[in-house]
């Protein structure tokens, strides 16, 4: 992808017309990841010069028809309608970046994957029969080819800007796959687990947030999802043996915002045969 020319005049105007088209799509989510784009307060207007914001309902009622050069997709797939819509989004998009834990690992709503969705519906709704929902909440990549994934619940501004910048320059975004532990070391945060006995998912969680939670004195709760080949089972054993964490609590810790990420889901299932987040009777 070529950068649009900066100079003014007819060439620039032609380049303007060639500005890559950006679309932002929402599936089942809280809007927090797309809000992160609007939270780029210092960069937003410059970005809007570089990209034509063609579809971004949270920000604009103007809708430009596809195809789109870059689609940012937030949310997981939880309804029959979304199943169809994601296919259409893929057909219309040259590059698809899934943004956030919902889009990359199901999000908090994927807790339903190990529960009975009809029972959930009955608990919340007077007329559950009107609902048209799937039994599972699944990441975007389970349905269509995804070109790149941004982790986090929510994603960070820095990673979003890096991903968009990389797209504009036609290169791959540069992100490490180290764990949150490395970021604590870089930041000089004393380990909350070793020094404070606080259960922390940092050793198995992908870096990217800057090790935020330990800097605030709490354990990482894994909102960036599993790091590359994490040894989740061994960390959970360590929590139990060294920190006295109840088995049911280890299962809950793995079943949060990235509950459908295989590394977390498998370890949670292994630790909890009954398949209930709080263990039997919870």
């Amino acid at each position: 992808m070529k950068r649009p020319a900066d100079a003014s005049g007819p060439v620039a105007r032609a380049a303007q017309r060639r500005r890559p088209r950006l679309a932002v799509w929402k599936f089942s989510s809280c809007d927090g990841c797309q809000l992160t784009l609007l939270d780029c307060e210092d960069e937003l207007l410059a970005l809007a010069d570089r990209l034509e914001v063609a579809y971004f309902l949270e920000a604009s009622r103007a809708v430009v028809e596809g195809p789109y050069d870059l689609s940012l997709v937030e949310g997981s797939i939880t309804t029959p309608d979304e199943l169809e819509r994601i296919q259409e989004v893929r057909r219309q998009s040259r590059t698809v970046i899934a943004i956030g834990a919902c889009a990359t690992a199901g999000g908090i709503q994927s807790l339903r994957n190990v529960l009975d969705v009809d029972e959930l519906a009955r608990t919340v709704y007077a007329e559950p029969s009107y609902l048209d929902v799937l039994a599972t909440a699944t990441p975007i990549a389970e349905h269509v080819k995804v070109d790149f994934e941004l982790r986090g619940c929510p994603i960070t501004k820095e990673q979003l800007l890096e991903a968009i910048g990389a797209f504009l320059h036609g290169r791959r975004p540069a992100f490490g796959t180290v764990s949150v532990c490395q970021e604590c070391k870089r930041r000089g945060t004393v380990c909350v687990m070793v020094s404070g006995g606080v259960p922390c998912l940092g050793p198995v969680t992908q870096a990217g947030c800057g090790a935020l939670c330990p800097a605030y004195g709490r354990g990482c709760y894994g909102c960036f999802g599993p790091a590359e080949s994490p040894n989740v089972a061994s960390l959970m054993r360590w929590w139990q043996d060294e920190l006295g964490v109840e088995p049911a609590a280890t299962v809950r810790a793995l079943r949060t915002f990235n509950a459908a990420a295989p590394a977390f889901a498998d370890a949670a299932a292994a630790a909890d045969e009954s398949g209930r987040p709080g263990g039997e009777g919870a």
């Binding site: 809000l35 309902l57 920000a59 709503q109 339903r112 004195g217």
Partner: protein
Amino acid sequence: MTDDGRELRRLSVGALARVEGEGAMRVRVRGTTVEEVGLDIYEPPRFFEALLRGRAFTEPPDITARICGICPVAYQTSSVQAIEDALGVTVTDDVRELRRLLYCGEWIQSHALHIYLLHAPDFLGAESALELARSAPEVVQRGLALKKVGNDVMAVVGGRAVHPVNVRVGGFYRAPSRSEVAALEGPLTRALEVAEETVRWVGGFTFPSFEHDHEYVALRHERDYPMERGRMVSDRGLDLGPHEFEDVVEERHVEHSNALHAVIRGREDGAYLTGPLARYSLNFDRLSPRARQAARDAGLGERCRNPFQSIVVRAVETLYAVEEALAIVRRYRPPASPGSEVVPRAGRGCGWSEAPRGLLYHRYSLAADGSILEAVITPPTSQNQRAIESDLARFVEARLDLDDQALTWQCEQAIRNYDPCISCATHFLTADVQRLP
């Protein structure tokens, strides 16, 4: 034309823009009668209340924050207060003030987002703030700068602006240091002017003449403009604590929309409004002198019943939140302890707070080990939906001479007056999957 020779008009907006979440609007007009108005919520349900069962009492501030990325602090605050109530935990004044500071950050960012990026374009005939930025970049930049100050406050107190990590039952994980908080003084001081300028700017917009007569419901506190504490009052005599909320408010299943609407029991219609207009009209005397003056200068009375002027009210509240945040920042000393000790026990607790969009109520029942037996959450948009629809019907009836395109845009604008947060509403609203052409 229909059988009886009267013209049938249908207006619909398949996907509302510049609202949080996914909703649609549908209006059916026969001749000069508005037959049906619906604000359909097709945002998929995510079953939060059900998913909370069996989780630990420590988890709702993190889990319920994910109901809405635009007002996570409201969810965190209402949930921790409800659980503290269940566990008999009291928090120190220092901790409560830090909560209020975090909440000010959320009001500033959420209101600035709504004023500049979601709502103002309607008044200026622009499709979006990005379009607005082409003709008036300095205006949009001013809005973004204001929003950023709110985000900065949230980042210092909460760790980040979307889904802060620092809130726990009993208080905070860590109290920010004096110097971290002091760094906010400069940006907040500069934001005062910007916020005042914002009130002047939106005060100069042209507002369609329209007044509603719904009951206003908001928190009210003996000293403060309501945010994290107060009793629930109304302009028709309600005055209650959180434990009485469900005795007074009923969630009713409404046939035409397949949605639950919150209504006040024992009233003929029962529709009521919560949010900036109600808060302001019930608490004008609790605003700072500077915010009151800015409101008067912008042409607002002590009460406001025109939903289109809600943008001015939001601007006044933003100015107040900036002043309030600045006052807390200036007197801040890190508390001796960032939070109270919390011991699980069986119990039932209720809590509420004023989300940017209005009253947000939570109730939890806990087992002896602190696990959640039941959770109930009533967000502002579900409370306002009935009033929004009835306003829309009256609004359309008075404007039937407009062509469809103009009328549709005005209806969208009328909905955006309430800044409906559909992501919030949907965790309990039944989705109406019917979509009219």
